[in-house]
Amino acid sequence: MGSISLQNVSKNFGGVTVIPDISLEIEDGQFVVFVGPSGCGKSTLLRLIAGLEDVSGGVIQIDGQDMTRTAPAQRKLSMVFQSYALYPHMSVRGNIAFPLKMEGADKETIDKAVNNAASILNLTDYLDRKPRQLSGGQRQRVAIGRAIVRQPKAFLFDEPLSNLDAALRVNMRLEISELHKKLKTTMVYVTHDQVEAMTMADKIVVLNAGNIEQYGTPLELYTKPANRFVAGFIGSPRMNFIEGDEAKKMGAHTVGVRPEHLSPSKTEGLWAGTVGVAEHLGSDTFLYVHVDDVGQITVRASGDVAFHSGETVYMTPMDGRLYKFDAQGQAI
């Protein structure tokens, strides 16, 4: 009941084109994540869907209906903002009840719906607190509560976890995933954190400068990036790219290999280089290796590998883990 379809949507702000021309189909019940570098237009796209900005061209359909010119209030979408945007003067109950109150629901309906949402989100004990009395994670849940209370056609999330600290982020990530499993409502989720994207999404949209670079499942993006941009964007630490002669040898303009797909050795391998910095995290070791004619290459090795700054290291890419790109950056 919540498919979203964008047809040739474009947006410019006073002359500057932010989104040139995007078409995208989001199926009902899917969890779609928008990722992309800062300023690529993720938030703008989300806000166009929400109706908080007018499109400059194209059509937005929600549930098959043309909603291009409909006011946000009428689109029946729920949005969770990065800052949560809780109403500071209302209690948790008031916050969650607000959308229903605006719909003019009667008190009983509201109470039931609020209690239900609160119990889903473990907020029952906090209903009478004000937002400022809550921790970051609880605030986050209130924002979600406000979104789920009126059964919207879809949820829109704009980097909802970026204000949380690392530990809490992991928890909330899990909670949102579980919520999606429970509610089965379409969710559109913007983030620039790849771990979130990879772990939560059914499908990921990779945006770059207002264009869709690739649209697919997380594993597709990881294993079969459509182009160099996606390959570089997905995966952490970043994929190593090798250009020039070394790449030509392999029949490509650029060759890419992920740090985790390079086996380091003290004795032999395809490429030889000098370790610049070796970061020992205990569990892993990241080696930043300088290879002549190729540049810096990052290698992820296990925690007990004992390479030190200044040593020579040999690296070999694992089988089938080499990506090749042409001069335009398209995968070959």
């Binding site: 929400a50 908080l52 006011a71 946000p72 209030a73 009428q74 979408l77 729920s78 949005m79 903002f81 990065q82 800052s83 945007a85 809780l86 109403y87 500071p88 003067h89 209302m90 607000f98 959308p99 605006m102 719909e103 406000r146 009126r150």
Partner: protein, 276 residues
């Protein structure tokens, strides 16, 4: 800096601060004290500070001359009335300026402020004629209109700077939650801006309370506020220091007390965006 501050330094600083504070406050304190003296004691040399025969006579005299409570209630009605009407007009305008700014927003704001620079005396006769024809002379409504208009720019500006601090996100959230613009302003913006609105209100009540040109020239009896009350003391008739003090005390006490009690709220919004 959290290095320990020596008590000696604190004592010295406190002494200076108290000295300055008392000096600044002294004229008011002196007025207050004098209002309880007889006319003779009031001008006695050397001046008497606390040791004199306290008397309430001056207050009685002042009250027989003009009905303090009528002037007082007129002051309250016009100051509060103009502030509330000003807020009702200014809140939407400030919303528009803060949340839907255009290239001209700043110019409009500055223009509004510049209307406050018009010399009131220069337009008294035209206004008087208009008010006469509209039968607004010596009415609460008339005075409220004038006070609203002269303070509106300040109200708009204060609210504007205050609203600008409110994250747009929250208003957008309410829009997503299905609130109409009206609901957005009533249920979300206004309650969130309560401290700013309160501060704006307070400042404007003070300004309206103390406005002395229009209130004096456009009223006679029914709507005359405390500024008119004090106007009959603005020149001595024989010995009048004590009576003047009593009238002055009566005229400023309400607003001073209000100001003291609400100074925290007042200060919060008084900064006109000057503090970031």
């Amino acid at each position: 800096m959290a290095r320990t501050i020596s008590t000696r330094r604190k004592v010295i600083v406190s002494a200076i601060a108290w000295l300055i504070g008392l000096t600044l406050f002294f004229p008011i304190l002196w007025t207050f004290l004098t209002s309880f003296k007889t006319e003779g004691t009031a001008i006695a040399m050397p001046p008497r500070f606390l040791f004199f025969d306290w008397t309430l006579e001056n207050y009685q005299t002042v009250q027989t001359r003009s009905n303090y409570f009528r002037h007082f209630s007129n002051s309250v009605i016009t100051a509060v009335g103009s502030t509330i009407i000003g807020l009702i007009i200014a809140i939407p305008a400030a919303w528009a300026m803060a949340f839907s700014p255009t290239k001209r927003t700043k110019d409009v704001l500055l223009w509004m402020l510049s209307t406050k620079m018009l010399p009131a005396v220069g337009v008294l006769v035209p206004i008087y004629l208009i008010f006469r024809d509209l039968r607004l002379l010596d009415t609460h409504i008339g005075l409220i209109i004038v006070l609203t208009m002269i303070n509106l720019p300040i109200i708009v500006w204060m609210l504007y700077t205050y609203f600008k601090e409110i994250p747009v996100d929250i208003l957008e959230a309410s829009r997503m939650d299905g609130a109409s613009l009206r609901q957005e302003i009533i249920y979300v913006l206004t309650p969130m801006a309560i401290p700013g609105i309160a501060s704006t209100m307070l400042l404007n009540i003070i300004l309206a309370w103390n406005e002395a040109f229009w209130t004096l020239n456009l009223t006679t009896t029914r709507a005359a506020p405390l500024t008119a009350f004090i106007a009959s003391y603005s020149s001595p008739e024989g010995l009048f220091w004590a009576k003047l003090s009593a009238a002055s005390t009566l005229a400023i006490a309400p607003i001073l007390i209000m100001g003291w009690f609400s100074q925290k709220q007042l200060v919060r919004g008084l900064t006109f965006g000057a503090v970031k």
